[in-house]
């Protein structure tokens, strides 16, 4: 039973990171029916910028408690600018092009971002260790401060995003644009600007997710956005792409499935497969959803689109 709860905690932590990234996919899809496959790489950029800035600031003697939030703000600014630029330069000219064009552009962009990152940060693994050795032991279940930080911050950001989309005038314009862009323009909404803002918001969340990933795993690399992006995309599809609540539940659920799968696969298969097969679960989930329930858990009618 301890394994179960331990993996549940691990899964929720991981899942809340997936959820943050999945929100970026689902917001962009909700508003312009585009799958921005370069979004995963935004997490990588956020992670590596945070990592470098923290090292630089630490080198200058800035205490970690200050260096970390400053680095995160810096990474968010970089990602927001990059997200804005990508929409402006790569996607906006393709607004009226056939669906395949922006999709191929997204894949190309993803490669460009990775290669530029490889030039800037090299191809090796960069380490990132936070000096937190304390752990809480709750009846055999180990919880680290990083895990609670990740979960807490994710929940706070998700709540903030829901509030923004549901209660603010920008959120109202986002939902109006998603439902009928032409009429939104007739009502005076600069829909291009709303779309820009959507990219910027998603990119900011990706930057935070980037910090969480390096803090949780302790390493970063220019390819780290690929698998994470695929999993977050899976989470978005699982929840019903276009639905905000769906992305959140999809992310958490996927994290838990993956962690439980990794925790038990050894026992179930008599040691044939180890926890290194955990990535398989995400894709089994993706295939299963696409075959049996393609609209996702909260997709279609019920889901609240952006």
């Amino acid at each position: 039973m301890a394994t179960f709860f331990q993996q549940l905690v691990n899964g929720l932590t991981l899942g809340s990171i997936y959820a943050l990234v999945a929100l970026g996919y689902t917001m962009v899809y909700g508003i312009m029916e585009l799958i921005n496959f370069a979004h995963g790489d935004m997490v990588m950029v956020g992670a590596l910028v945070t990592l470098s800035l923290t090292h630089v600031l630490a080198g200058l003697g800035v205490p970690l408690a200050l260096a970390l939030p400053l680095s995160l703000l810096g990474a968010m600014a970089v990602c927001m600018a990059l997200g804005w630029l990508i929409e402006r330069v790569a996607y906006r000219p393709l607004r009226r092009a056939p669906r395949l064009a922006p999709l191929i552009t997204a894949i190309g962009l993803s490669m460009v971002i990775e290669q530029v990152a490889a030039l800037l940060w090299g191809r090796g693994y960069l380490t990132f260790s936070l000096p937190v050795s304390r752990v809480w032991n709750l009846g055999g279940v180990v919880v680290t401060p990083i895990q609670t930080g990740v979960l807490g911050l994710s929940l706070l950001l998700m709540w903030g995003l829901l509030w923004l989309v549901r209660k603010t005038s920008l959120g109202r314009a986002m939902r109006a644009t998603a439902q009928n862009p032409e009429v939104a323009r007739l009502m005076g909404v600069d829909t291009d600007q709303v779309i820009s803002m959507t990219f910027v918001l998603g990119s900011a969340l990706a930057a935070v997710a980037g910090l969480m990933v390096v803090a949780y795993y302790g390493i970063g690399n220019y390819t780290m956005g690929f698998m994470l992006g695929l999993k977050a995309f899976t989470a978005a599809v699982l929840g019903g792409i276009g639905s905000l609540a769906g992305a959140m539940w999809g992310g958490l659920l996927l994290g838990v499935v993956e962690a439980l799968g990794a925790g038990y696969i050894g026992d179930v298969t008599g040691g044939l497969f180890g926890s290194n097969y955990k990535d398989v679960f995400a894709f089994l989930v993706l295939i299963g959803v696409l075959i049996f329930h393609p609209q996702g858990l909260l997709g279609g009618r019920a889901g609240e689109k952006v």
Binding site: S169, R175, A176, N180, V183, L186, M187, G188
Partner: protein, 240 residues
């Protein structure tokens, strides 16, 4: 009377097909102008060009003396030009209240928005009762009233209405037209596209009749009502 909207030699094309061909049309400040014609005559395309949803292939559009091409679609509402599109175009998953607020988007920081909303709720009791429900749950007629209310929230100077009676039961049509009459009475200039020619001609001061993209007749609305060709083609022929 000053000219508020001046359309000169307007043509609109879809691919190679010319939907509007060299149309001249003028709307004076404070006037109510009807644009009538059969299905596919090019009425909606004309309005879309004025609102900016279609780019004219030729011609000149002047609004209050300035060329409209300088304004993006979303900037035209701020200038006082508001289109209620064919099929009403309410946001189905926004609440009624949020739909009304969308109409006031360009003046969202204006303190007058809330009092305008109360005024509109005064006109449409039904909308107030259901203000927190999604607009998609309203009946077609109620959605049309909401679309009109939403347009009013923008404080328009020139209101373009595209077939407000479309698909509505006779009783509802009457109600919608009462509202349109009240809007016109409050000093808003009106360009009204309708298939229901009799209703439109009875409400308006002047009219244009379109056929296959061209204006074939124009004049005072009551004269059009008595015109033999109009009666033949749009009023069922037998009433005179």
């Amino acid at each position: 009377m000053t000219i508020l909207l001046d359309i000169a030699g307007l043509s609109v094309c879809y691919g190679g097909i010319k939907a509007v061909a060299e149309v001249d049309l003028v709307v004076h400040e404070g006037e109510r102008v009807a644009l009538i014609g059969a299905n596919g005559a090019g009425k909606s395309s004309t309005l879309k060009a004025v609102a900016g949803l279609m780019v004219p292939s030729s011609g000149q559009l002047l609004y209050d003396g300035t060329p409209l091409e300088r304004l993006a679609v979303w900037q035209r509402v701020g200038a006082g030009l508001c289109l209620v599109p064919e099929g009403r175009g309410v946001f189905p998953r926004l609440s009624i209240e949020e739909n009304l607020l969308m109409g006031a988007w360009h003046r969202r920081r204006d303190a007058g928005v809330l009092s305008d909303m109360e005024r509109i709720y005064g006109l449409f009791e039904r909308l107030k009762e259901r203000r927190l429900q999604p607009a998609g749950t309203l009946s077609g007629g109620e959605q049309q009233l909401l679309a009109l209310g939403r347009a009013l929230m923008s404080r328009p100077r020139l209101l373009l209405l595209d077939e407000p009676s479309m698909g509505l039961a006779p009783l509802m049509v009457e109600k919608v037209f009462d509202v349109i009459r009240a809007i016109a009475g409050s000093g808003v200039t009106l360009l009204l596209v309708e298939q229901n020619a009799r209703l439109a001609l009875e409400l308006c001061d002047r009219a244009y009749v379109m056929e296959s993209g061209k204006v074939v007749l124009t004049g005072k609305a009551d004269e059009c009502l008595r015109d033999a060709r109009v009666q033949e083609a749009y009023l069922g022929g037998d009433q005179s």
